[in-house]
């Protein structure tokens, strides 16, 4: 672009309005059919309006040429949310059999200014899919960069998951999750990714094979930050398809008891986990009963699950109605 200007190239100099570029002199710009009294009319700047008018012209004539490709780039820099332009750009790229590696770079340059844009990520997926497993590493690198600026970036995570699935590169993913969790154990996206890896990675033996090490990893995280909801949810997830094991595994019970015995931390998640275990059929031991009763300021209920609900209504008051609702759903049993 700067070169064009320096050379005084009137044809393609992008600092000139399109109407003054001889390259476009044969095209009649098409104005937007807004009607006489549109609602939500936008006071477009001249450059924006003109660029869109020229885009409409080539879109309408379906011109899939190099200059059309350049015009879509200009248009997208003005509004990267225009999915019609992205769609048309794909048609042009195909028609011209354009270098898709260059396209990856183009996308990266657009992403610099606004990465929170559905269209950009869909376009990236389209390009990467065409390039195939050769770009597996590059897609992981790209998403890693975006995640280094925002470790919970939703589109980046979706793209990363897609790339792993379609292009491969699973080997270091669990380590990457660990890296992110070391930096921020509250990063729920990283926990979600852990689950993704252990359940979907072709080299993982699945949850069954990974359970022991993952449970140990998770319990360590829980004990360090008992108020971190992410780790509790993940722990339960490890037994999603084996509820009998969940209620019989001593590590699950003991992490609850451990947290409940502490005076310096939030007990809500330990209590709700215990409630879920009881609802699933856990036979409470004396240790369970004593542990819960120690927290009760209320008249102890003979039904332990009821009592847990009561205590939860007090220690987690935002959800007081929810715990009351849970209580109402528990079978009232006679002893």
């Amino acid at each position: 672009r700067t070169l064009d200007r320096e050379l005084g190239n009137m044809d393609t100099d992008e600092t000139l309005p399109l109407s003054q570029r001889s390259e476009w002199s044969d095209v009649v710009p098409l104005t937007q059919d807004d009607g006489p009294n549109p609602v939500v009319p936008i006071a477009y700047k001249d450059e924006f309006r003109e660029t869109m008018d020229y885009f409409r012209a080539i879109y309408s004539s379906d011109e899939r040429s190099p200059r059309a490709l350049r015009l879509t780039e200009e248009t997208l820099r003005l509004n990267s949310g225009n999915y019609t332009v992205w769609h048309f750009r794909r048609l042009v790229l195909e028609a011209l059999n354009h270098d898709l590696y260059q396209e990856l770079e183009f996308i990266e340059s657009i992403a610099e200014d606004n990465s929170k844009n559905y269209q950009l990520w869909h376009h990236r997926r389209w390009v990467a899919e065409k390039l195939g497993p050769d770009v597996a590493g590059r897609e992981l690198e790209f998403t890693r960069r975006v995640l280094s600026l925002d470790a919970k970036h939703y589109h980046a995570w979706s793209h990363r998951q897609w790339a792993l699935r379609a292009l491969g590169g699973w080997e270091d993913e669990l380590d990457y999750c660990h890296e992110l969790l070391e930096a921020d154990v509250f990063n729920n996206s990283a926990w979600n990714q852990r689950y993704y890896v252990i359940t979907r990675s072709p080299s993982s033996g699945g949850v069954e094979a990974m359970r022991e090490s993952e449970v140990s990893y998770t319990i360590k995280a829980i004990l360090t930050n008992p108020a971190n909801e992410s780790s509790w949810l993940y722990l339960k997830a490890l037994y999603k398809d084996n509820k009998e094991l969940w209620i019989s595994d001593p590590s699950v019970s003991s992490v609850c008891l451990n947290v409940l015995s502490r005076t310096d931390c939030f007990h809500g998640f330990a209590l709700s986990t215990l409630l879920d275990l009881l609802c699933e059929g856990l036979s409470p031991t004396n240790e369970h009963i004593d542990s819960v009763r120690a927290l009760a300021t209320e008249e102890p209920d003979t039904n332990l699950a009821n009592l847990v609900c009561t205590i939860l209504g007090r220690v987690d008051p935002i959800r007081a109605n929810y715990w009351a609702w849970r209580k109402s759903k528990i079978t009232v049993a006679a002893m």
């Binding site: 609602v39 999915y83 019609t84 897609w162 992410s230 007081a320 609702w325």
Partner: protein, 445 residues
């Protein structure tokens, strides 16, 4: 040796900053005199309408980034106006119908602006905007036959839908397609085939629903997924216990909702998260559902008669004195419902903290000059205005078991004049307009 201070993570730091802002506002409110408090609680209808009407009439150049979302702007603004119980004048109405009509594609569906490729999200917005305008002119402007073709073209063999030709596929595309099909009475087996399977595969271990299979549970997608399952009558295929549990846990100390676990509160989730809570609670109630596993509790005999607990106000809530309001319901109920008992309970205690939620919206999201925002320090915008108001409506009506039961004074935070129109939870259009659309699209030929 210096003791090492616990390291604060990015999540903790960001949360801390938001809490500071929010509790600062609550503290200021609590310390203010009565008249200041009254002012802060007021929705400020006039200012809201000013902001909305101005937006409908003219937008500045900074809106160029939404140039492919103009039906959304129409819907966000028109829905907000309708929630406030107002409507636009005939001239504006005609201009809106005309403009939206110019976004309609020749092969069906609506694009983000005149001449743009039809897109499911803008189609949803356009249809909802027209339904909100109401009347024959608006409703007849929708080409239903072409719409059917468009929806079918967007359908994918996996069961999901793509947003546009060769576009992205996710739970949002599924919802927008099905919501439109449902309202326009063009649902068919082809559209719903394997759709439930796709959405089911998007429910995560957390209980919420993600955008694509494997993606993190997220408020927006949870609403979309759940609403879709309701619309295709496959809700019971989801793990409802874990969904309910996830949704209620998204309400934080600020009293607003977050979109994902360990992320920040945002006013728009007032709708995306509260609606599922209400939908689920009503579903459990209507189907007399017992929470899974409750019969497993290993204690004593199976006293089954207690299983089907009536969804009544809880004993703790002793000052809940609405038996007066409800006892006449049976006799004035014109729907011919048979009641097996004389005490008809048409109210439930919402599982989320509704008054707390309303507080967040009115004190932290609402801008006195008009408009609503995500959280303090963020600017207002029409998207947040729509979803904060829609969510506020959901919260105000959360005690009602059905749409015939109006809220009580104590359900509404601030004065009763804050009361908004009730919405249809599966489409987020005002109930009255939805009913009108039903009349129009479902009338016998």
């Amino acid at each position: 040796e210096m003791e090492e201070l616990p390291r604060i993570t990015v999540s903790q730091r960001e949360q801390f900053l938001v809490e500071n802002d929010v509790f600062g506002i609550y503290g200021y409110f609590d310390a203010s005199d009565i008249s200041t408090q009254k002012y802060m609680m007021e929705i400020q209808r006039d200012k809201q309408l000013d902001y909305l009407m101005k937006g409908l009439r003219q937008l500045g150049p900074q809106f160029s980034s939404l140039d492919s979302n103009r039906p959304w702007l129409c819907y966000w603004i028109l829905q907000s106006i309708a929630l406030l119980g107002e409507s636009v004048d005939d001239e504006l109405e005609n201009n809106a119908i005309d403009f939206i009509g110019r976004c309609q594609g020749s092969d069906g569906g609506y694009g983000g602006g005149p001449g743009q490729l039809p897109h499911l999200a803008t189609t949803y917005a356009a249809v909802n905007a027209l339904v909100t305008l109401g009347g024959d002119k608006a409703l007849s402007s929708i080409n239903r036959e072409k719409m059917s073709c468009f929806l079918r073209r967007m359908k994918d063999t996996s069961g999901g839908f793509r947003m546009h030709d060769m576009g992205e596929m996710d739970v949002r595309a599924c919802y927008t397609a099905i919501s439109v099909a449902s309202i326009l009475n063009i649902m068919d087996d082809e559209l719903t085939r394997s759709l439930g399977d796709y959405i089911l595969s998007c429910q995560t271990y957390e209980g919420g629903i993600g955008g694509e299979p494997g993606s993190e549970a997220h408020g927006g997608y949870t609403y979309c997924g759940l609403a879709t399952m309701f619309l295709i009558n496959e809700v019971d295929r989801l793990n409802l216990d874990s969904l309910m549990n996830w949704a209620v846990h998204r309400q934080g100390v600020e009293m607003g909702f977050q979109g994902r676990t360990n992320k920040l509160v945002d006013g728009c989730y007032t709708f995306w998260q509260a609606a599922p809570c209400v939908l689920l609670q009503r579903f459990y109630s209507a189907h007399d559902l017992v929470h899974h596993g409750s019969s497993h509790i290993s204690q004593g005999t199976d006293e089954d008669h207690e299983d089907h607990v009536h969804d009544e106000d809880y004993p703790e809530d002793s000052d809940d004195d609405d038996s007066d309001e409800d006892s006449d319901e049976g006799s004035v109920n014109g729907h011919g419902v048979h009641h097996t008992s004389t005490y008809i309970n048409r109210r439930i205690q919402p599982v989320f903290d509704s008054l707390g939620l309303q507080r967040y919206v009115l004190l932290c999201s609402k801008i006195p000059d008009g408009g609503f925002r995500d959280k303090p320090r963020k600017p207002r915008d029409f998207y947040h205005t729509c979803y904060c108001l829609s969510g506020l409506s959901v919260a105000q009506h959360a005690w009602s078991k059905d749409e015939d039961t109006p809220p009580l004074t104590r359900d509404i935070l601030g004065s009763y004049s804050n009361l908004l129109e009730p919405v249809h939870l599966l489409h987020n259009v005002v109930m009255d307009r939805y009913n009108e659309a039903m009349e129009y699209f479902f009338k016998a030929p």
